[in-house]
């Protein structure tokens, strides 16, 4: 049996579909390849692999937006969008039967920005229904397969976007991250993924799961591409009252300048290296720590004592907000409506019972309960207080360290079906990623080697709006290592 992956010596050796976008940009500008060829190739790759991988829910012709942004980095480069990001005139389902025939009447702000930049949008990617899940098994439209091993999950909820990049169909894909939904599938599929600071990227047009936690972010081949992607999508949006007015530097310029890692303090949270971590994962992350040390970084220990509350706090806040956010799917205005019903209440109940999947219903019920009168103080309010404690933990940690380094997941990709019977075990796989959402800080995942032949991710977190520092450190790591040059053999 041949290996399930290929490791290239450098970008030059890589086939066009696996090269990073900044290399493709150079090739387009040098007329080594045309934008039309690129889109054609990407659409063909996406279409031909979709039968096996099921990464895409819809594949469009791409290229339609080539008119805009001739001088922009992303002009003519094929990208994909998670199917909870609304696209005017293109079906947007959020992975749910309840929206299976929903075609939005407007574009999300990030879509508008990508169109303005001339990016070629080739398709919408599969996901856990309403972004609720960690394996993409909760999609109403079938599971997405991990291209490294199609018996394994790609992670989730943005599994389709991770696979679109990992399988060489798109050079960049947008996902959304509410508790790790970008970083975890990025880690499990061996690509880079980032959740920016809450408010850095507009949520306008992102079908809400948990409004105070959701953030859109990119999947890419390497850290420089992530910086370019953030450049394209970030910035204050007058349509999103929670989007930040913080000035956005050019992240790509910052990353390209290079960063002297000498004396940069990298914090290691004790709480993230306890029991239950797969040996391979723990080894790879420790090797990465060694690499940073070799680069001159100073490794310091930090404490995040409220980490143990992160999962319960997350599942109270996220489900409470979700129970309200998903109320609009009622069969009245758009989307699925049950075929037969006796009266209004019956229409609501049948529509939502038939339209939503099991995990979504589970979370709506949990959230409704948490907000109910008599329980609100004990659950929702207490969770908010604990969330504040978690935020304070990070502020304390960032007073000692510039960046925090940790694993992304306790284990590499698990088998399809392995955890579906036990939601709690599934929830536990988000343990290292959830805190960044609760604390509203930015965090990214980059490949740091393999465990049992499957990719392992390394998480770097920064303080509010410190994406530049975080991306630059990741890129310095990638300049000196070759984990990101290892791709799935597809």
């Amino acid at each position: 049996m041949s290996e399930n992956y290929i490791k290239y010596a450098n970008y030059k050796e890589m086939p066009v579909h696996f090269k990073p976008a900044h290399e493709i940009r150079r090739m387009i500008d040098a007329k080594e390849i045309s934008e039309a060829e690129l889109t054609k190739m990407a659409v063909e790759r996406a279409s031909s692999s979709n039968g096996v991988l099921n990464a895409f829910l819809s594949i469009s012709g791409g290229g339609a937006e080539l008119a805009g942004g001739k001088n922009s980095f992303w002009a003519g480069i094929p990208v994909a969008l998670k199917d909870n990001i609304v696209t005017k005139g293109i079906k947007t389902t959020a992975g749910s039967k309840i929206l299976e025939n929903y075609t939005p009447i407007y574009d999300a702000t990030v879509v508008q920005k990508l169109k303005n930049a001339g990016a070629s949008i080739i398709g919408k990617t599969n996901m856990d229904e309403f972004a609720m899940g960690s394996s993409t098994e909760n999609s109403a439209f079938g599971v997405t397969k991990n291209p490294w091993d199609i018996t394994r999950v790609p992670g989730g909820s943005s599994g389709g976007s991770a696979v679109a990049v990992a399988s060489g169909s798109a050079y960049m894909a947008l996902g959304s991250d509410t508790g790790g939904s970008i970083r975890q599938p990025a880690a499990l599929c061996g690509v880079c993924g980032m959740k920016p600071t809450y408010g850095r990227v507009s949520r306008y047009g992102l079908i809400a799961f948990a409004s105070s936690l959701d953030q859109i972010g990119p999947f890419t081949r390497d850290a420089l591409d992530m910086a370019h992607a953030l450049d394209a999508i970030c910035g204050h949006d007058p349509k999103d009252s929670t989007s930040s007015a913080a000035p956005a530097e050019s992240f790509s310029d910052f990353v390209k300048k290079g960063m002297d890692m000498n004396g940069v303090k990298i914090g290691i949270p004790d709480e993230y290296f306890g029991e239950g971590i797969e040996q391979g994962v723990s080894d790879r992350v420790k090797e990465a720590i060694g690499q940073f040390e070799k680069m001159g970084a100073k490794i310091v220990s930090v404490k995040l004592p409220h980490t143990k509350y992160a999962i319960p706090v997350y599942y109270l806040i996220a489900t409470a907000e979700a129970s309200s956010n998903l109320s609009r799917f009622d069969g009245v205005k758009y989307g699925f409506r049950a075929a037969e019903f006796k009266n209004l209440k019956d229409m609501y109940m049948k529509t939502r019972d038939e339209g939503f999947g099991a995990e979504v219903k589970r979370r709506i019920i949990l959230g409704t309960y948490a907000l109910s009168s008599g329980y609100y103080d004990a659950y929702y309010k207490t969770a908010q207080k604990a969330r504040t404690k978690i935020k304070e933990d990070f502020q304390d940690a960032f007073s000692r360290a510039d960046l925090i380094l940790s694993p992304v997941t306790p284990a590499a990709a698990f088998k399809i079906g392995e955890k579906t019977a036990d939601p709690l075990t599934m929830y536990m796989s988000d343990i290292f990623t959830i805190s960044a959402n609760l604390a509203s800080i930015p965090a990214l995942s980059i490949p740091c080697g393999l465990s049992g032949g499957m990719p392992v991710g390394l998480q770097l977190s920064g303080n509010y709006f410190q994406e530049g520092k975080m991306l630059a450190a990741a890129y310095e790591f990638q300049k000196r290592t070759d984990h990101h040059l290892c791709v799935a053999a597809v």
Partner: protein, 486 residues
């Protein structure tokens, strides 16, 4: 046993902003086809986010200041969750525990009902929220439709303390509230077209008891009169229940206007759990004192202050002062006239007399919708004062102003209404009338003074009202005296 009613009112007013509370759609949807004044935001499409219309916040603060409230230093929005087809998102963005305004009051009974004392009705809170759409039921009795044009129109909910004791006090509270809101120009306040809506919480208790009885909420009242009748019915109903030895059930009742009764809508145990929680899509708002001060400086003179000024400084009667102060347009008209004419009583008499009568005849509610302007009235008053026209002729002039909008001087000239004060001309007429009415003359000579009135009438008739009545009177008496003494 004697019973006392305890009443609190919850009033919703639509703010007359140009655009909706969270999106740029126009609020002027009246008459539009269903679902044409909507966008992705107010129709609750997936992925949309609200952005607060700053004008809504301003008007809420303005309202709070006008209603003597304290304004929150920090305010936030919350979601009120419930399912109904007219509610596009399945939740209403409203305010729960940090409303924009609290602890205000309205004074009722000021002056209008003489002999009664002023009374403060407390205002518990004012909060901002979005309106819902409207369900429309098909003629076939099977299908229903939803129109979201109204969804997202800004509302203020104004909640009173349970300080109201009678239905007429409730009506006075509503009228005063409406007057104030019209003064500060935040809402059209029209109950018939739904820009002002009122729910009432009513309970009864034995007179002298300080504990509150079980309250019943009444909805679906479509006029101030309806509010009054519904409360009266409900008080009587509750007293009957108490006197029969039964207990009042906590519930929501609907007012049936046609039958003038209230009927059970839902019991307490059927009440919704709205699961309020902070709206995560809108960060809290901090309100700076300087912004509050700036808004305060835009407040006009409010009806209570106006009433006092009319009463104390302008020496109007309490009745006249309260009628003027109670009508923002009339008061503004009066103030503009009073700036140029010192006989305030004369202005008041014309405004509340002939002009109001004319408006009623023509069905005009707002004096600024009529063609008469303060300049017209001022010019007319000057023409009366200098003797150019009589008060009687002035009534004709008023009619003509309403019809044509022309200036009094022009009307007088056009219709030949100038008052005749020429002695020799009037004497000729007097002589004619004396000659034509020998019976009246002999009546007068035999001592019947009433004959004078008849003769003046005849003279005025001959001059088509244009003769100066004062001169006519004087000269006629002189001439009659001559005849008597002859």
């Amino acid at each position: 046993m004697k019973y006392e009613a305890v009443i609190g009112l919850e009033v919703h007013v639509q703010l007359s902003t140009n655009t909706k509370i969270f999106c740029p759609c126009s609020t002027r949807y009246s008459g539009n086809e269903p679902n044409t004044s909507v966008c992705e935001v107010c129709s609750g499409q997936p992925g949309v986010l609200p952005v607060l219309n700053a004008e809504v916040l301003k008007r809420a603060v303005k309202t709070g200041l006008a209603l003597n409230c304290s304004i929150a230093k920090r305010t936030k929005f919350d979601r009120k969750n419930y399912f109904y087809p007219d509610l596009p998102k399945g939740y209403q963005v409203s305010q729960f525990d940090m409303p924009i305004c609290e602890k205000g009051y309205i004074v009722v009974n000021d002056g209008l009902a003489e002999g009664k004392k002023d009374k403060k009705i407390g205002i518990t809170r004012i909060h901002m929220e979005e309106d819902a759409g409207k369900n429309v039921h098909g003629a076939d009795g099977k299908s229903s439709f939803v129109d979201y044009n109204r969804a997202g129109v800004p509302l203020l909910e104004i909640v009173s303390e349970p300080d109201i004791r009678t239905s007429s006090e409730a009506k006075e509270y509503l009228e005063k509230l409406k007057t104030i809101l019209k003064y500060i120009d935040v809402s059209d306040c029209n109950m018939e077209d739904g820009s002002l809506r009122c729910d009432a919480n009513v309970s009864v208790r034995p007179a002298g008891e300080t504990k509150l009885g079980t309250k019943v909420e009444i909805k679906n009242m479509n006029s101030f009169r309806g509010v009054q009748k519904a409360i009266d019915y409900e008080i009587e109903r509750q007293i009957k229940v108490c006197e029969s030895g039964s207990k009042i059930t906590q519930e929501t009742r609907l007012y049936d206007e046609a039958k003038a009764v209230t009927l059970t809508m839902r019991k307490k145990e059927e009440a919704f759990d709205y699961r309020y929680f902070p709206e995560p899509d809108l960060p809290p708002y901090d309100i700076a004192q300087k912004d509050i001060d700036a808004i305060r400086s835009t407040l006009p003179e409010l009806p209570d202050a106006k009433f006092s000024r009319y009463l104390d400084e302008m020496q109007l009667s309490a009745y006249d002062a309260s009628l003027l102060a109670g009508n923002p347009s009339l008061a503004a008209f009066f103030d503009r006239c009073a700036a140029g004419y010192k006989n305030y009583k004369a202005i008041t008499n014309w405004l509340l007399g002939d002009i109001s009568k004319k408006m009623n005849e023509l069905g005009i509610d707002d004096i600024f919708d009529a063609r008469i302007r303060p300049e017209h009235l001022l010019e007319m008053l000057a023409l009366i004062d200098n003797g150019t026209i009589s008060g009687k002729i002035a009534k004709t002039v008023i009619d003509e102003i309403f019809a044509s909008g022309e200036k009094p001087a022009k009307i007088i000239e056009k219709l030949g209404l100038v008052q005749i004060s020429d002695d020799s001309f009037i004497l000729n007429i007097i002589n004619e009338v004396v000659a034509e009415n020998p019976k009246s003359i002999s009546d007068y000579i035999s001592g019947k003074e009433a004959a004078v009135g008849f003769l003046v009438g005849q003279i005025m008739k001959k001059t088509r009202g244009k003769a100066n009545p004062r001169i006519v009177n004087e000269m006629l008496i002189t001439e009659l005296a001559k005849l008597k003494n002859a």
